[in-house]
Amino acid sequence: MTAPSPTVPEPGERPRGRRTTIAKAVNEALRAAMEEDPKVLVMGEDVGKLGGVFRVTDGLQKDFGEDRVIDTPLAESGIIGTAIGLALRGYRPVCEIQFDGFIYPAYDQIVTQLAKMGYRSSGTVKLPIVVRVPFGGGIGAVEHHSESPEAYFAHTAGLKVVACSSPTDAYFMTRQAIRSDDPVMVFEPKRRYWEKGEIDLDATPLPLHAASVVRPGTDVTVAAYGPMVRTALEAATAAEAEGRSIEVVDLRTLSPLDADTLVASVERTRRLVVVHEAPTFLGLGAEIAARVGERCFYHLEAPVLRVGGFFLPYPASRHEDDYLPDLDRVLDAVDRALAY
């Protein structure tokens, strides 16, 4: 088995160089960005002395000072709103929202101001702001700590939305997002923060808004992003033992979607399963199914199938093994797609 892309570690793969975690890769990216550009700021709740509740910003305040790594008051709308003001003054704030479920107090500033101000100004002002959001479940947390709110933001014109799934992507996508003059929301797979994978900072990074075929296959395409990429890869490994060849596409960018990469894959495999933790209803999978349906109508051998969370509020953590898509649910959908 060969991994075609260096960006996603294979389960059980032997290390080929430096190994690190997604959390540390983001930390390195923030550090490098702050060294490169004095206008880059990090701000959020507990990001300074504590280094963030996930330690993603560990050590940054010590090295860059309290003016550049800002422990903010506990007010999410205030974080985004003041970041907008800082951006208008020429800064490039990187805001951390502590947990996915805490983003809603900032929803108005993100959707009403951050997304629309550049448009409102006919391009005379720019808001190069990054909003980092640890997202997704699987960590046994209490309510509001396991959600997948990415579709709300992908639905909003003016924002760009990406999700990383590996240390190398976490590093480069964070760097690229910070360099972007558009607001970018980076969804980080919190349950994968501490999983080690290979990081290759000498690799030529993919563009920020490109999907990637992380494992080639011939029978069915499984598209995923964030924490579900690893699940999809595990499903592909398991399916291989049964003689089924799954192609895994890491979507990476949710707005804009890289439909071309996906369409090219589906034209080869003729079947598509989309996987995400967010509820399937009106999730990214719904948009992808519609688009692939339009563009691949004569190639498809089966309807595009979706595997996602159920249409429930995120349940109590003792339910989450049943709530979240897992290897078996992905394989079940693969079987259904192949049965057409």
Partner: protein
């Protein structure tokens, strides 16, 4: 009639809060121990001209709306002194974050009044370059801009443009908002951030007594300026219809901010003489007697009386200002009518700076769709 609150309010002691005033409604110049202003004849006459001109711009815009040329207009009638007094206190490097009613402040920042109409006519969403005037775009969602002003002020701090003693370098941000906005979470978060970071920002609240139909009593149980104490910075109530007092109080607050002493809350106590916007009907919720009472406190009348009584201006001057107002109104009207509708495809512009595949795709579709019509009917779109 007021609706009783369930459970009732215990009565708060009614003490008339102190208010800074330097020019009475009768046009008499008075002194205040904390705020003095040395204002010569030229400056007084300039204030008068500003007040008259922005009132005329406003009247013309209201008329344009009534004639169908604007979709909406938010009148500043009655609030001219609050806006001119504060707007003329600003230094060029200061940065203003307005609501959608700050036409008088826009005037002070040299924004062509015609430009203000674009948003209300529907040909754009803003229309001026904020960085040219240090006057941000109008913000419609109530209170959001107070956080932007605070963040901007935090940027000023990081640039070292505060407390240097250099009057051309030291900078403040000023956030305009209304009494209704003080109930918003964002405004309270802005107060917290500004306070704990000691940000060089002035919170300028025009308390015009009404948030559309809802009176002050439903937003606050204490005078608004007293809120500031709870956040840890000074608050002051000023007669918002007294251009001199507003100017003095705002100058002091801006100096304080630029000097590194942190935020100030100014409550400019005034009155919205007109409707909330041209879509509103205030006769449904407030009585005419209240409006009549405030007419006696008119910001322009008191300055005119003062100028005339002290011999600093006569009918010749007032006539000149009137003529200038007529010419300005004509300019606003002519330019408004000449304002073209935007080219349809430009709606796809500036959604992103670095492009976006979906926007590009939909723009291409839209262009092809329209091109299809022009093929069918000989080129007309």
């Amino acid at each position: 009639m007021t609706v009783p609150v369930v459970g009732g309010h215990p009565a708060l002691p009614r003490v008339e809060p102190p208010i800074v005033q330097l020019l009475t409604p009768e046009g008499e110049r008075v002194e205040h121990p904390d705020y003095s202003i040395d204002v010569g004849t030229d400056e007084l006459r300039a204030f008068y001209r500003d007040l008259v001109l922005v009132r005329r711009i406003d009247a013309e815009a209201t008329a344009l709306q009534r004639q169908g040329e604007l979709g909406l207009w938010a009148s500043l009638l009655g609030q001219e002194a609050a806006q001119i007094g504060s707007g003329r206190a600003l230094s060029p490097q200061d940065y203003v974050f307005p609501t959608y009613r700050e036409h008088g402040v826009a005037w002070c920042r040299d924004v062509d009044p015609v430009t203000l109409l674009g948003l209300y006519r529907g040909v754009n969403l803003g229309g001026w370059d904020p960085t040219e005037h240090n006057f941000h775009l109008y913000t419609i969602v109530i209170g959001s801009q107070t956080l932007h002003a605070t963040g901007y002020a935090m940027g000023i701090q990081r640039d070292g443009a505060v407390g240097t003693g250099d009057p051309t370098r030291d900078t403040a941000a000023i956030a305009y908002f209304g009494d209704g906005a003080t109930a918003q979470g964002d405004v309270n978060e802005a107060f917290v951030f500004a306070s704990v970071f000691n940000a060089p920002v002035v919170f300028f609240c025009q308390n015009n007594q009404w948030a559309i139909s809802v009176p002050n009593e439903r937003q606050t149980r204490i005078p608004l300026y007293q809120r500031a104490a709870g956040f840890g910075f000074p608050g002051v109530r000023v007669d918002g219809n007294d251009v001199l007092a507003v100017n003095a109080v705002t100058r002091a607050a801006l100096d304080r901010a630029r000097g590194g002493e942190g935020p100030t809350f100014i409550e400019a106590y005034t009155y919205r003489m007109g409707a909330h916007t041209t879509s509103d009907d205030p006769t449904r919720y407030r009585i005419a007697a209240e409006v009549e009472e405030w007419k006696l406190k008119d910001p322009i009348a008191r300055l005119k009386v003062h100028l005339a009584r002290t011999g600093q201006a006569d009918d010749t001057y007032f006539g000149e200002v009137e003529s200038q107002a007529d010419r300005l109104a004509e300019h606003v009207r002519t330019a408004c009518l000449a304002m073209p509708d935007p080219d349809p495809v430009t709606m796809f512009d500036h959604v992103y700076r670095d492009g976006h595949a979906l926007v590009d795709e939909e723009r291409a579709w839209f262009e092809a769709y329209h091109a299809g019509f022009s093929d069918a009917d000989g080129g007309a779109r």
